[in-house]
Structures are given as structure tokens and as C-alpha cells.
């Protein structure tokens, strides 16, 4: 019985420990991500204050105090007088046709609509990885669609008979011009950029040198000077009597400019392809173009999809610069609408810029989201 001392029998309950700090659920999440330390809590409070001071005035301006209906400035001015200096959306709604079509003749607007509709109809299945007939779809989009929309937009006259009345590009404007420049620039600069990238990596010294000079030159100058060059200098380069459409001149400048950027992106992709892929292709007896077209470029382009989309986004945003050489893209059209006395109110500028920002944001953010989606979809073991 002496052994009884060895045992200890607890007669009362052990003290209860507090439950461990929850790391799941809303409270746990907040504790981890917002209030993990004193410094963190201070940061959270500061951050919330900043967010509040930015979001509240915006919501107040864009939604709560906004004026949605009205046929001229009186509605917006009345709200202003009552102390609600909000966005004048009635002005944007009134001007919407101009923002979308520019000064395109009203009775011909259906042609622009057809082009918009075709664009969406052909682009959406092309962007969906699961949609069938990719080859035909791409052919329609890249070859047939540009030809059809060229004639639809500019008009068609056939030996004296007018099929579609001519609409000069000077009357185009708004989103139409923005999209025409962006899409043409994107579609035309990609093949040119690929050719330049291949030229820069070529073994032939002169071809290499010409590509390098071309790329470095266009990348070293601002787009504005390129636009000035194409609108002021290009006419000097041509023989007497030959004139180029202003829009076409701008398109040439934009394409050459973005081709140089595209070339550098593609070059990055080409450099990332292991030498074994070239050697494998050559061992199969493929010549240069089949090797590039079937083996190297598909892999290289897949690698640089984010870079290509970034170039596209940059080009889309840069279309706004054409307003400096006197063309009316979306921003230009909005800017020029400010001179209309019918809608002149103190908030007109803010409203117009807000509208432009929303439109550009939707397009650019959409493109970047899509590129991330495609990147995840296409990654074939390159990603870690």
C-alpha cells in the first residue's frame, strides 16, 4: 500500500483553458488579415478611411446626385442650384449616338451597326476555347470581315451606280474610329511584328541590322511624333496628286509603331524556346517556314500571350492620341461636345471624362482578364 503515494488522483476539475483563437470564419479571417497586430490595425483603419473618402464622393457624384433625364442643361443646372452637383448623365444619353458613330450620316448608321454586330458575332466564338470551327472562324474574322466592313463603312460605287453611298472618313468619329484604329492596328501589327522578330534573330547580317534599326527607331520615339509624321510628313513623301486619306495615314503610323513593340514581345518568346526544338524540327527535315509556323511560333506565341495582350491594351489606350492630329475618336468626340452651349454645366466635363474612363476601363480590363484566362487555359507545363 506504500505505492499509493505514487498515484495522484485529481479530485477537482483542471482549470479550463480559453478556446484557441479562431482562424476560420469571418472573425478569424478578420483577426488574421486585418487586426493581427497594432500596426496592422492602424493600417486597416487608415486604409478604410482612404477607401471611404474616395468611394463616398464618387457614389454621391455618379449615382445619388446624378441627373438621368432631361433634354438640355436646365435639368442639370436645377439640380446644381439645389446643391446636388452630381453627374449629368442626361447629357451623355443625349450625346450617345455621337459618341458611338461620330458624325456618320443618320440614315447610313445601320451600316455601322452591321459592322459592330458582325464584329461581335465573329469575335465571341473566336475567343471561346470550346467553340467549334476555329479555322473558318479565324479566316472569316481576319480576312473576310475586314473587306466587308471596309466597303460597308466607306461605301461602294460600282461603275456609276451607287450601291452604298460613300461616307468620307472625316465624318467617322467616336467609338467607331477608336475601334477601327485599334482593331486594324492590332491585326496588322501582329504579322509585321512576327516578321521583324524573326528578322532580328536572323543569321543574315543585313536583314538583322535593318530589323534592329527599325525596331529601335520606332520604340525610341513617342507615338505623338509618329502621328505628326504620318499626318504632316507622309503627304510630302508621295508624288504630286497622290493623296492619302487622313485615317489611313494615321493607321499606317499606328501599325508601324505597334509592330516594333510587338516584335520585341515576340522576340522574347522566340528566345525562350529551347534550342532542341529547332534542332528537332531540322532533324525532321523541315525547312525554315514550316519549322517556324508549325513548331517554334505556336510555342513562342503561347508563351508571350500576356505580352501581346499588354501591347494590344496599350494600343487601344493610345488611339486617344489621334485627337491631337485632329481626328475625333471617342475621347475627341467627348472633348468636342464640351463646346455645346446646350449642355454646358459645371459638371459636364467630369461626367464626360467619367463616361470615357468607364468605356476604356471596360475594354482594357476585359482584355487583361481574358488574357489571364487564356494563359491558364493554354499553359502546357511551362508554368511552375
Amino acid at each position: 500500500m506504500a505505492n499509493a503515494d505514487i498515484f495522484q488522483i485529481r479530485t477537482e476539475e483542471a482549470p479550463k483553458l480559453a478556446a484557441p483563437i479562431s482562424t476560420s470564419g469571418v472573425v478569424g479571417w478578420m483577426r488574421q488579415n486585418l487586426f493581427s497586430s497594432i500596426g496592422n490595425t492602424v493600417l486597416t483603419v487608415i486604409g478604410l478611411l482612404i477607401a471611404y473618402s474616395l468611394i463616398m464622393p464618387f457614389v454621391q457624384f455618379a449615382i445619388i446626385d446624378a441627373v438621368w433625364t432631361g433634354s438640355d442643361r436646365t435639368a442639370c443646372l436645377a439640380a446644381e442650384g439645389a446643391g446636388h452637383a452630381g453627374a449629368c448623365w442626361a447629357y451623355v444619353i443625349d450625346y450617345l449616338p455621337q459618341f458611338i458613330y461620330g458624325r456618320y450620316p443618320t440614315e447610313e448608321i445601320y451600316r455601322v451597326n452591321i459592322v459592330y454586330a458582325l464584329f461581335v458575332l465573329l469575335l465571341v466564338p473566336l475567343l471561346m476555347p470550346s467553340a467549334p470551327y476555329k479555322g473558318i472562324n479565324a479566316l472569316l474574322f481576319l480576312v473576310v470581315f475586314p473587306i466587308i466592313s471596309y466597303f460597308l463603312l466607306t461605301g461602294l460605287e460600282f461603275g456609276g451606280t451607287v450601291v452604298l453611298p460613300i461616307v468620307e472618313t472625316a465624318r467617322w468619329g467616336g467609338l467607331l474610329v477608336t475601334l477601327v484604329i485599334a482593331v486594324t492596328g492590332i491585326v496588322a501589327s501582329l504579322p509585321l511584328g512576327i516578321a521583324l522578330a524573326l528578322g532580328r534573330r536572323s543569321n543574315m547580317p543585313i536583314i538583322k541590322m535593318v530589323s534592329v534599326i527599325f525596331i529601335e527607331f520606332w520604340r525610341g520615339v513617342p507615338l505623338i511624333t509618329v502621328l505628326f509624321m504620318s499626318s504632316v510628313m507622309l503627304p510630302l513623301f508621295l508624288p504630286e496628286g497622290v493623296t492619302f486619306d487622313k485615317l489611313l495615314r494615321v493607321l499606317i503610323g499606328v501599325t508601324l509603331f505597334s509592330a516594333a513593340y510587338m516584335a520585341e514581345v515576340v522576340r522574347g518568346g522566340l528566345q525562350a524556346i529551347p534550342k532542341g526544338q529547332y534542332e528537332g524540327a531540322m532533324a525532321l527535315g523541315l525547312r525554315f517556314w514550316p519549322m517556324m509556323g508549325l513548331i517554334i511560333l505556336p510555342q513562342a506565341l503561347k508563351l508571350v500571350i500576356p505580352g501581346i495582350v499588354n501591347t494590344f491594351i496599350g494600343l487601344f489606350k493610345d488611339t486617344t492620341l489621334v485627337l491631337i492630329v485632329g481626328m475625333f475618336d471617342l475621347l475627341g468626340q467627348i472633348q468636342s461636345s464640351f463646346s455645346d452651349p446646350n449642355w454646358s454645366t459645371p459638371t459636364q466635363g467630369h461626367t464626360g471624362y467619367l463616361f470615357a474612363a468607364i468605356v476604356f476601363f471596360v475594354f482594357c480590363f476585359g482584355m487583361s482578364r481574358y488574357s489571364i484566362f487564356m494563359e491558364n487555359k493554354l499553359h502546357t507545363g511551362h508554368k511552375r
Partner: protein, 405 residues
């Protein structure tokens, strides 16, 4: 056919000329040269003809003619009687000014936002994320317009002002005003003290590095450096009998309405065009820099900070001595191109008539019609700036690059 002829002539057996890569290469290159020369000749001859027909003298002689237009901001002496050449130089310095200040601001904002995006704090990282996505996806020109036409037009008129920072800085429609340092006689010694302090700071840095390599002892280089750079000029200033004062902007608040406002020549004034351009450029570029910084820091393997912690380094020194130097290697090349982009984007000044190189050049172009020369000057200047910046950054990059065995 050619194969047979060659064979009968006893030439060494080889593939046909068509399939010989060397011959094909030569042929392609010769074609390219011929095409380029023909294209160049076509353009030059057309241009010469067109210029003759329009009676435009080619050459840079027009740069000596009197400009006859005013420039709202000039860093060097300029009047309306100055020449076109001087006007263009004024524009060039304005471009440089915007670029330097823009790069400075964009780097600071970009690093702060980039690090904020990696913060553990959800609110902070979300805020940084929203900043980056919003700013990146809206055209720069629109942002310049927003700052210039929407924000800076909403400030008080000429007869009124907003003051901040203890009434030293004032904002109204004419721009931002603040105290301007005025250097009097004998103030040169302050400048020399500053130069001496910088030289001394470098010397101390060298000495402390040598000592640390030899003995392992550390020396507070940064603090001593800052102390010397602030302290020495201050001592010199006191010794020389305080030969410097600030010219504060004077604001007339009483009297007739038309007389009210800032007195001419009091304090410095930054014109609204400059403010809008610099703000838009640095905020826009900072969004891109933030992404570069984030990617750079994320590119440093987590094992590096774990190893540093295992060695007993605290969070601060880990970041400063281990993470940032390695991240810089990834950050610098894309950062260079952002600096270049900012410099090139400063040409958008023409949209709000800030007198930069392109804007002034455009005025000269309109007055003289010398399109080729003006566009040539633009492209030459921007190309030179681009090449210089990238040469400097390449040099810096090489210094920072990983030295591998």
C-alpha cells in the same frame, strides 16, 4: 538545269544554287537592299519636288529667325524676340524638367504601392490593387485632361486661394505657389559645404565598407551621411551670417477686387499645365512601376528570407540586405523602360499646351511649315534620350547583376 551545267563544268558536287542557304541569304539581302534604296530614292525625290513646289527652303536656317510667340514657362532666358532655336531649347528643358520630376514621383509612389500590394493587411493590398487596375486601364491622355480640365479648373480663381502646409503653399487657378529661396551674396559657401558633405559621405561609406570587410564592425553610414549632408550646409549658413531667405508669396486680400491676388514675382509658381502633366504622368507610370516592384519582390525565393531569419537577421535588415538587392536585379530592366515611357509620354503635353519640346516644336512647325526639320529634331532628341537612359541603366544593371562562377 543549273545542276547539269555545273556538273558538266566539273564544279564540286553541291546542291543547286536555289537550295544553297548561303546563296539564298545573299539573294534575300541583296533584294532587301535594292528595295530599301529604291524606296528611299522614291521618297527623297518626291519630297524634294514637293518642297520646291511649296517654296519651302530645306535646312535648319529657320532656327535663327525670330520666334515672335511667348512661352508660359521657361527655365532659360526667353522672350518673344528670341529665335526659333531658343524656343526649341526652352521646350527641351521643360521636357527634361517634367521627366525628371515625374520619374522621381513615380518611383516613390510606385514602390509604396507595389509593397502595399504585398501587404498582409487585406484592406491595404486591395486598395493598392484597385489603384493599379484603375489607373492602368484608363488612357493617359484622359487622365491628363481629367487633372487639367476637371480638377485644376475647380480650384479657386485668381482672386482667391486654397492654402495648406501651414500657409506656405497656395493653390489657385494660376497654379501652385510656394516660398522661393533667395540666395544673397556670400551664399556660395552653402553650396560648397553641400558638395563637401556629399564627397565626405561617399568617403565615409568607402571607409566603413573596408572596415567591415576587415574587422566585421559596422558603422551607421546612412545616418552619418544624412547628418553631414544636412548639417554641414546648415553650419555654413550660420557662419556666413545667414545669407539666404525665402521669398514668400504675397497675397493681397484687401482693396479693390481687381487688385486682389498674388503679387507678381513673389514666391515660385508652378503653372497648372505643369502640375496636371506631372501629376498624371507620375500617377500613371507609378501603377506600372508598382506591378514591376511586386513581381520583383515575389521573384525572390522565400528560402532567402527564411535563411536570413535563421541567421538571426530581423525583418528590417532582411528586407534591406537580402530581399531588395536581389529583387532589384529583376526590377531594374523593366523599370528602365517605364522611365523611358514616362519621358516619351511627356510629349502629351501638347494636348494641354504645356510648352514642352513637342508643343513648342508644333508651334514652330505651324509658323514655318518646316515639317521635316522639326519632326527630325523631335525624333533625334527622343532617340538620344532613350539611348542615354538605357545606356545608363544597362551600366547600373551590370553593376547590380548576379556575379556567377
Amino acid at each position: 538545269m543549273s545542276i547539269q551545267e555545273q556538273d558538266s563544268a566539273g564544279a564540286p558536287a553541291r546542291a543547286s544554287l536555289l537550295n544553297d542557304p548561303k546563296a539564298r541569304g545573299l539573294f534575300y539581302q541583296a533584294t532587301l537592299i535594292i528595295a530599301l534604296v529604291a524606296f528611299g530614292w522614291f521618297i527623297v525625290s518626291n519630297t524634294v519636288e514637293n518642297l520646291e513646289r511649296q517654296n519651302i527652303a530645306s535646312g535648319f536656317g529657320f532656327l535663327q529667325n525670330t520666334a515672335g510667340f511667348g512661352i508660359i514657362q521657361a527655365l532659360v532666358d526667353y522672350t518673344e524676340t528670341s529665335s526659333y532655336g531658343q524656343a526649341i531649347i526652352v521646350g527641351f528643358f521643360n521636357t527634361l524638367l517634367v521627366a525628371v520630376i515625374g520619374i522621381f514621383l513615380a518611383t516613390i509612389i510606385g514602390f509604396v504601392v507595389g509593397i502595399a500590394r504585398l501587404s498582409n493587411n487585406w484592406v491595404i493590398s486591395r486598395l493598392a490593387y484597385c489603384y493599379v487596375e484603375l489607373i492602368r486601364n484608363v488612357p493617359l491622355l484622359l487622365q491628363i485632361f481629367f487633372w487639367y480640365f476637371a480638377v485644376l479648373r475647380a480650384v479657386p480663381g485668381k482672386r482667391d486661394k486654397w492654402s495648406f502646409l501651414f500657409d506656405t503653399f497656395h493653390l489657385n487657378i494660376a497654379g501652385l505657389r510656394g516660398p522661393q529661396p533667395v540666395f544673397e551674396e556670400g551664399s556660395g559657401i552653402i553650396g560648397w559645404a553641400l558638395v563637401l558633405a556629399i564627397v565626405l559621405a561617399f568617403a565615409v561609406a568607402r571607409w566603413s565598407r573596408k572596415r567591415q570587410e576587415a574587422t566585421g564592425q559596422q558603422f551607421p553610414v546612412f545616418l552619418t551621411g544624412i547628418g553631414m549632408i544636412i548639417g554641414l550646409p546648415l553650419i555654413a549658413y550660420l557662419f556666413a551670417g545667414m545669407p539666404m531667405h525665402f521669398n514668400y508669396p504675397e497675397f493681397v486680400e484687401t482693396g479693390p477686387m481687381l487688385r486682389r491676388g498674388f503679387t507678381l514675382g513673389s514666391g515660385f509658381n508652378l503653372i497648372p499645365e505643369f502640375l496636371a502633366l506631372t501629376l498624371a504622368l507620375s500617377i500613371y507610370t507609378a501603377a506600372f512601376i508598382a506591378e514591376i516592384v511586386r513581381a520583383g519582390i515575389q521573384a525572390v525565393s522565400h528560402g532567402q528570407s527564411e535563411a536570413a531569419h535563421a541567421l538571426g537577421l530581423r525583418n528590417g535588415p532582411t528586407l534591406r540586405l537580402v530581399i531588395i538587392p536581389q529583387a532589384m536585379r529583376v526590377i531594374i530592366p523593366p523599370l528602365t523602360s517605364q522611365y523611358l515611357n514616362l519621358t516619351k509620354n511627356s510629349s502629351l503635353a501638347v494636348a494641354i499646351a504645356f510648352p514642352d519640346l513637342v508643343s513648342v516644336g508644333g508651334t514652330v512647325l505651324n509658323q514655318t511649315g518646316q515639317a521635316i526639320e522639326i519632326i527630325g529634331i523631335w525624333m533625334f532628341v527622343y532617340l538620344t534620350l532613350s539611348l542615354l537612359t538605357s545606356a545608363f541603366m544597362n551600366w547600373y544593371n551590370q553593376r547590380m547583376a548576379l556575379v556567377e562562377r
